[in-house]
């Protein structure tokens, strides 16, 4: 590369204000004594101005009919990466929360041994292995647990709503039996959630019920996620 080409190669960066103060000063000094580079700079300046002033030009043919035909096909269910990430994080958080509760994160030993109308089989065994009296120290106060559950509510509801919408839009791609099974399971889980909520209203400090509610909500989210995934084309 010749010395002159080295100057020429800096002209775009000069025009775009991408040079340091020192480099800029050097280019300006060169431009003051090089008519060829000044002429090139003028050309580049015109090209940049021309490009910036280009106006959109419609296609020569009407492309709408081709688009319209494809719109008639079922919509593809899609999620943004942040939505998928949020759903995964929420699942992980809810699972983690349930594990913490089941491993002894609940507020009282008494409540952990309450009846388990549909909860996990692991809970009693874990409960037996947990040192008595360790729960409240591990998790903090009852209000802290309630706050943790409440914090997840908005995100959870948003994720569930999103998945329900996707499932509704894509249900035409599922066979009737699958739809029926999904709906039956969802109604069972919804019933469990409603019962756990009702019981928690009466006994807000009950750690087992909190864990049961979290687990039921996690199961609902998981079922919706898998059902929605079934509606997506391969």
């Amino acid at each position: 590369m010749s010395r002159h080409e080295q100057w020429t190669d800096q002209l775009s960066d000069y025009l775009d204000d991408e040079l340091s103060e020192a480099e800029r000063a050097a280019v300006e000094a060169h431009l003051g004594e090089c008519a060829e580079c000044s002429k090139t700079l003028g050309s580049l300046r015109r090209i940049v101005a021309e490009a910036a002033s280009l106006t959109p030009r419609p296609p020569e043919n009407d492309l709408w009919p081709g688009v319209a035909v494809r719109l008639a096909q079922p919509r593809r269910i899609s999620f943004t990466i942040p939505q998928l990430a949020a759903a995964s994080l929420l699942l992980a958080a809810l699972s983690g929360g349930a594990v913490v509760l089941l491993l002894g994160g609940g507020p009282t030993g008494r409540s952990q041994t309450a009846t388990n109308p549909g909860g996990t089989a692991e809970a009693p065994g874990v409960e037996a292995a947990r040192p008595a009296g360790a729960l409240s120290e591990d998790i903090g106060s009852d209000s802290g647990l309630a706050a943790a559950v409440n914090v997840a509510d908005a995100q959870y509801d948003e994720a569930v709503a999103e998945l329900e919408r996707a499932l509704e839009e894509g249900r035409g791609r599922l066979d009737a039996t699958t739809v029926s099974v999904v709906e039956q399971n969802l109604s069972i889980i919804d019933l469990a959630i409603a019962e756990a909520r009702g019981a928690l209203m009466a006994d807000p400090s009950n750690g087992f019920l909190s864990g049961h509610l979290i687990e039921a909500r996690r199961r609902k989210l998981d079922l919706l996620r898998r059902a929605a995934a079934l509606t997506q084309p391969n």
Binding site: L44, A51, L54, W64, F79
Partner: protein, 188 residues
């Protein structure tokens, strides 16, 4: 109150207070509303596709972009202007297509004769050729960066992220593109 009434008129999607925007209607499945959106934006999207990928792919990719828009409308949250959202979606589709054509392009770039053809001005270089034609004659890498930077107004760092290249490469290709256009326009 008046400003609320005219909000979004820039996007051409509101007919008046209390009416749903065409974006919202289209997201709910109203294809007539979506056609209005298409008519309002097709020139800009087609021009972007044509300038980035060339005439051969512009029509097909424009249709792909609007079909993708229809499919993704439910994810539009209104956090940015619809025009901005659509433009980003269009660029994503165009860049995907560019990548799918990468093997074919590599074959051309590896061919020394093809490279010579790409960098030599057409025989009618004594004529002042149309600016868009000159852009279309640029080698693909240089053309994309020229369109993104000088036509669409993106910064080198944004282009580098979009095309997964170094900022320095973006700068070098832009300068190369400008110098080739200058040559094509007979200003060299």
């Amino acid at each position: 109150m008046i400003s609320a009434v005219v909000t979004f008129i820039g996007d051409g999607v509101l007919n008046g207070t209390g009416q749903k925007s065409d974006v919202a209607l289209a997201a709910a499945g109203d294809s007539s509303a979506f056609e209005r959106l298409y008519r309002a934006h097709v020139a800009r999207i087609h021009s972007l596709a044509r300038r980035m990928l060339g005439n051969d792919f512009a029509d097909e990719v424009t249709q792909d972009i609007f079909v993708r828009t229809w499919q993704k409308l439910s994810t539009f949250r209104g956090e940015s202007a619809f025009t901005t959202w659509l433009h980003r979606l269009a660029l994503n589709v165009i860049i995907e297509r560019r990548r799918s054509l990468a093997i074919q392009r590599t074959r051309v770039a590896d061919d020394p004769i093809a490279l010579d053809l790409a960098t030599v001005p057409p025989s009618r270089s004594d004529l002042r050729v149309d600016f868009e034609y000159a852009m279309g004659q640029l080698p693909e890498g240089a053309r994309e960066i020229f369109v993104l930077h000088d036509v669409e107004g993106y910064k080198h760092r944004e282009i580098a992220v979009m095309l997964q290249i170094a900022t320095g490469t973006s700068k070098r290709q832009l300068h190369r593109a400008r110098m080739l256009i200058r040559q094509q326009l007979g200003e060299a």
